[in-house]
Amino acid sequence: MKAAFIAYNQAFVDEVEQILHQLNIRGYTRWVDVQGRGTKTGEPHLGSHAWPGKNMATLCIVEDAIAPILKKRIQGLDHSAPEQGIRVFFWETMDV
């Protein structure tokens, strides 16, 4: 089992939800109105006057086999609109 943490521009909320649905990932935890900025490129999303964009984050626990597919789908989404910003991070879960 892997934990997938998806951080994305709030405009991607529908797409992310759709991907999870298609991959049959039912359970997740979502934070709305989170802030963040990319390591190298991209605009910060801080919900401030200077950087008005805002992020959302979704945490879900997926089967090991699903993880690469999820990664591919998220990267595909990122590629379709690189300026919006979406990242997914995985780590091992000890127990469910």
Partner: protein
Amino acid sequence: MKIYESSVKKPVLVSIAFIAVMIMGIFSYSKLSVDLMPEFDMNMAIAIVTYPNASSEDVENNVTKILEQTLSTVNDLKKLTSTSKDNVSMVTVEFEWGTDMDDAVNDMRDKLELIKMSLPDGASSPMIFKLSTDMMPVAIYAVDAQESMAGLYKILDDNMSNPLQRIEGVGSVTIAGAPEREIVALVDPNKMEAYNLTVEAIGARIAAENLNMPSGKYYVGNESYNLRIEGEFKESDQLKDIVVSNNGGPIYLKDIAVVRDSLQEKVQESYINGKKGATVVISKQNGANSVDVMNKINKALPQIKKNLPSDIQITEVMNSTDNIRNSVASLEETILLAFLFVVVVIMYFLGEWRSALIVVITIPVSLIGAFIYLFATGNTLNIISLSALGIAIGMVVDDAIVVMENVSTHISRGAKPREAAIYGTNEVAVSVVATTLTLIAVFFPFTMLSGMAGIMFKQLGWMMCIIMVVSTVSALTLTPMLCSLIYKQKEKNASKQQTEKKKNKVQIIIEKQLTALDNAYERLLTWAVNHKPTTIIVSTVIFVLSLMLTKFIGTDFVPASDNAMISGSIELPAGASVERSKEIATRFYNYMKTTYPDEMLRMTYTVGSPSEDSDNSFALMQTSGDNYISFRIKLKDIKERKRTIFEISELMRKEIASYPEVAKSTVTPGGQQGGMTGGSNIEVQIYGYDLEKTTKLANDYKAGMSKIDGLKDITISRKDYTPQYNIVFDREKLTANGLDFATASTFVRNRMNGMTASLYREDGEEYKIKVRYAEEFRKSTEDIENITLYSTTGRAIKLGEVAKVVEKFAPPEIERRDRERIVTVKATLYGTTIDKAKAAIEQLNENLSIPSGISVEIGGSLEDQQDTFGDMGLLAVIIIILVYSVMAGEFESFRSPFIIMFSIPFALTGMFLSLWLTGQTINMMSLIGAIMLIGIVVKNGIVLVDYINLNRERGLSIVTSIVSGGKSRLRPVLMTTATTVLGMLPMALGIGEGSELWQPMGIVIVGGLLVSTLVTLVLIPTLYGSFAASKLNRQRRSLRKKNRKEVIA
């Protein structure tokens, strides 16, 4: 959930809500009445007290002063003026504009009730008379007749006046110039004396003969009958056969008098295009809308005309609603044109129909919303409310543009339209609301104005506030909703070239132009930021130079407008006969006819005084007299003639001046009705007790003022001494002959003026039967002296034995203002401005020696102007403070709004420049434009500074922040400026009738906004740069100090 989020998610609800608003708006629009100005009450009331047999000075001392003293304590009093004439005292109370007149009049009544007792014996109780706008006629018709001339009065009364009066909203219909029928017995005094008869005895005889009397009931068996004696004349001829005396055989009335069933002897005569006829004056009821009333009259007229004899021609002389309708129509045209201009600008900048559609749709939505307000508050479509629409048209799109632009940026980054709409709106919502707040800070104080300016601009303030709020709401709901539906998501992997290809040639050209402009601006801005002192000095010099222009710009009150009407009067010296006046009038008419055949539609004039017992209230309110001619000229539409009413009036003045017989004359372009829009006047007010000295001074002023250029129609308010014959009775001789004053004077009156003996009835109408001396016996002073008076004992005495007939001059009326005697010398301005006229008169003051005890003031339109300009100045200060506060709150800074405020002086520069170039004056309308500019010009500054701040927060250097921020905001600034400027341009161009009124406002806004935008685009970023740099230097210095201290420690 935020409002924009829910509207994107519920497009059906939002559409239905806006469609409902539109439907209600259109419904309200269809129900709105049309008027020229917002409705207001006349602010005057008059208290009248008659005090018989008192001279004007007695009236002044015993009545007027007492009235003035109490009336000066009423609430909301603005001005107290009075006129004391022989027998009558009239005190006019002028209240502050906007006072509730019912309350005010009640207050007056209460006050007068208290002093009733202190009025002298013989004085009547005070009568209060409220002036109202419905005393002004709505329409005047001229009636021209051939065969029916004799019976004209009755024909018109039955067939025109009565049906018209039945129309809802019509107040009164009066017929002037049509002589009324009258039955007169013209007696021969010699024959009368021979039979030992008097006028009174004959009158009493007629009254006794012309009688119907019910005489009780009469019973026959079971039946009862009414008993009636019918002695009333069936025909006027019966009068001749009345037996007036039985002194040695019957003496019939026809033996001693000529009985005439004809028309009144001398009445006011009206002429239409040189032909004698009658005029029908229609006035409306209080509160009725002129245009509505007029529409109904026009509907009824064809039927009325059908019922009249075929030789009677009815022509319209004056119609107060033509001008209203035309002005409103040309303003509506102007607004449509503005709408077109704005659409073109939006298309140019956005280059794409989707965005343009989203933005343009806000215009009808916001504007139509305002109609609901007008309808709900019972207001009308008038020049002010329509101007508000014209001003708003270019401004309502701004919010929508900002929202739409941000949403499309999100879409171009790959967001789906739905999300882009929600989050794109979210980002700009605060600044959209803030800019709207600045505008409300400008327009809301308008709603709190008082006085004349309040009446004019309250409505404008409310309209603008409502339109702005609606447009903001629409930008936050309708615009994102439409964006989410109309925009398409950017195609995946679509390269730049592909999107470029989709654009057509025109779009590519426009894009190239705009990019070139962006780059040029970037270079200019970089140069300016690097040469701050030069930029600031150059701007200051521009501003100071523009202030110099004020020397060449005149000031005025309300711009004069051409409504195709000229009215005026010609006065011959006092005592001139009607015949002489008629002759002059005909000469003047012929001049008009031959000089302006292509421009004049018709001319009507009245000569003479209305008969004493006439019920023509309109005529009684106006000045009249045997020596007085009043005329009214209707010209063709302004489009069909070359000369304006002002030019024609000037030529008419020159013509009248060439008639040696004329003593006084006035020519009023725009007519009395024009009132506010017919141009300005100036008044020299001479206060002083001594009648002789003040009259002399007034004449000196008149002489001096006639030499000043641009002062026309100079008149002195105090009337000349008028010649009259006084019958001076010797009281002792009267008493010795067993006569008293009252009896003797009634005798004279009955013989000269006639005695109304009885009434003759025919077809339900009543006509007077009068007994009077035949005309040949009342022609000379001897005739008067030959009048026989009878004492109580029946002894006959000639008037000459107990009285003398002397020629005298009647003293003038005494006018007072604010409880001091006053004479005013009034002049109309043409080709000059109030400030110039005032300066010239002040020059005159120095040359004239003003005796002690007399003071001189300058007034007229000047007073209104000073009042209004004062109000406007205060308003401007309040608005500037409010706008600053709103901005300070928005930026959370005292410095940024301060920098932005620097765009206001350059709005003034633009205003002066444009007024100077177009030759317009600083007047109420241009000042209103200037005040609105405060809110409009700071908007550009807000956009610029906001974005530069944003760049700084993103960590860019000062110069980069300024240059890149400026560059990226150039298009939105230019676009919102262009929509406002082009939206006002049709107003500034002054198309159509009545446009003189709103043209100055349009010119000021266009000029001020253009200049201010051009200067602020460079100056504001530069100032920002120097302020930011000095702040940075201060911070560095303090940091260095701190470091040094640390090092030392």
